[in-house]
Assembly symmetry: C2
Homo-oligomer: 243 residues x 2
């Protein structure tokens, strides 16, 4: 049986990778990934062979991994963050049915929600919902419904893929929907380039977030009704009493 590891490399910095993920890359013959992620790890594994495919070539990238594994090589397929959160783990397991000699194993990592939360403070301490605003593979109506119900349920909400050049007004539309049940003063946060050069964060109210331009390297956090700002950080209390 040829084993392929699908490895979450964390938000970007080498130190934010798990020990297991680094060991798996070190033990592999070939590391496969999207160009941007390969560039993040290449310098730490200079002796390895790397194979890349561009964005939107996910199926080709997965098949490349199976084909390398079928040659008897130890393959690691890398994903940013966690391989199981909007990552390649699902597609690899689905395609695995066509390659009965290969077994897919998933190595978890720190996803942008928890990596970004650590930069902002502690926004995700209580129940939260994770929603991607990308409508490339999901109908926008379904995204709207999830935003509306998650806001109504008073979840902390974390948004992935909040915007891009083509989807410049998606975050604004999302904020409008959440403001049907969340106050405009709800404490929110933005983190860009988590764990990478140029990392930055900002805490701001929902009504301001609505007017803020974001790019695809930004993760957005919308607090619940209890979320507060503490010394410039975003904190959702769990409910411990300490006074």
């Amino acid at each position: 049986m040829n084993i392929i590891y699908v490895v979450g490399i964390g938000p970007g910095a080498y130190e934010k990778m798990t020990i297991e993920a680094a060991d798996t890359l070190r033990d592999s013959d070939v590391i496969i990934g999207y160009t941007v992620y390969v560039d993040l790890v290449r310098e730490h594994f200079p002796e390895k062979e790397f194979l890349t495919t561009p964005m939107r070539k996910e199926v080709d990238r997965c098949r490349m991994a199976f084909e390398e594994a079928e040659k008897g090589r130890k393959v690691a397929m890398i994903c940013s963050g966690d391989a199981g959160v909007y990552g390649m783990a699902g597609l690899m397991l689905e395609l695995g049915r066509e390659y009965p000699d290969c077994e897919v194993r998933v190595i978890p990592g720190v996803t942008a929600a928890t990596g970004g939360a650590a930069v902002l403070g502690a926004p995700l301490i209580h129940d939260f919902a994770l929603i991607s605003l990308s409508d490339l593979l999901t109908p926008w109506e379904k995204i709207e419904k999830r935003l509306r119900l998650a806001a109504e349920a008073d979840f902390v909400i974390c948004l992935y893929n909040p915007g891009s050049k083509k989807r410049a007004d998606y975050l604004e539309k999302a904020c409008e929907i959440m403001m049907e049940s969340k106050s405009g003063d709800t404490v929110c946060g933005l983190v860009s380039q988590i764990g990478r050069e140029g990392e930055s964060m900002r805490v701001l109210p929902l009504k301001e977030l609505k007017k803020t331009p974001v790019d695809m390297f930004t993760t957005v956090f919308i607090g619940n009704s209890q979320t507060v700002e503490v010394d410039g950080k975003m904190v959702t209390p769990r409910g411990y009493r300490y006074e």
Copy 2:
């Protein structure tokens, strides 16, 4: 300024800790945590001083950390999984207002949702909601509302603290609520002792999950309407076309 690091140690196994978390523990003078988590890391840092408090003594544990830091010692407060997901990061930042000479920094880790997902396959590939069934600090009515709306929004749902001796029927009640809008045939999964000795997993339909006893070391996953079983694993497709 005395810096206190609040460190997520991951699900349990040393290898599932990030490199940054391990480095932080190695650089600290004293490691503070709940007894069970201290026992998970002690053998890997035998030269360190450890301080513990029992469960439900969270405020005492945090104050202990600040008091050690005020002595000029390098302090690491450890949490299982991620420090910012039902962990101590929030309470530490809140209490930090009383200790102006101390700064709290959060080191993220792999939380049970993503650690457990990797064991089950890839259940969290698409939008998901994380809900704790513990009503120790949250009114049960609020938990019910979140379950109901998250199910209606067709989120994959991950449940923390699904049961204990005192809360033997909570998972059953939660399944009943989710079955108001999710089919009884929805693909679900259970993972126990993630990354620890005795790790086990099971994939089963929601109607069976409802009748399954669980303990506090189990994390529960309820699929969305697209989630499927693939060779005994739980997989939520993202929507890539490959046929």
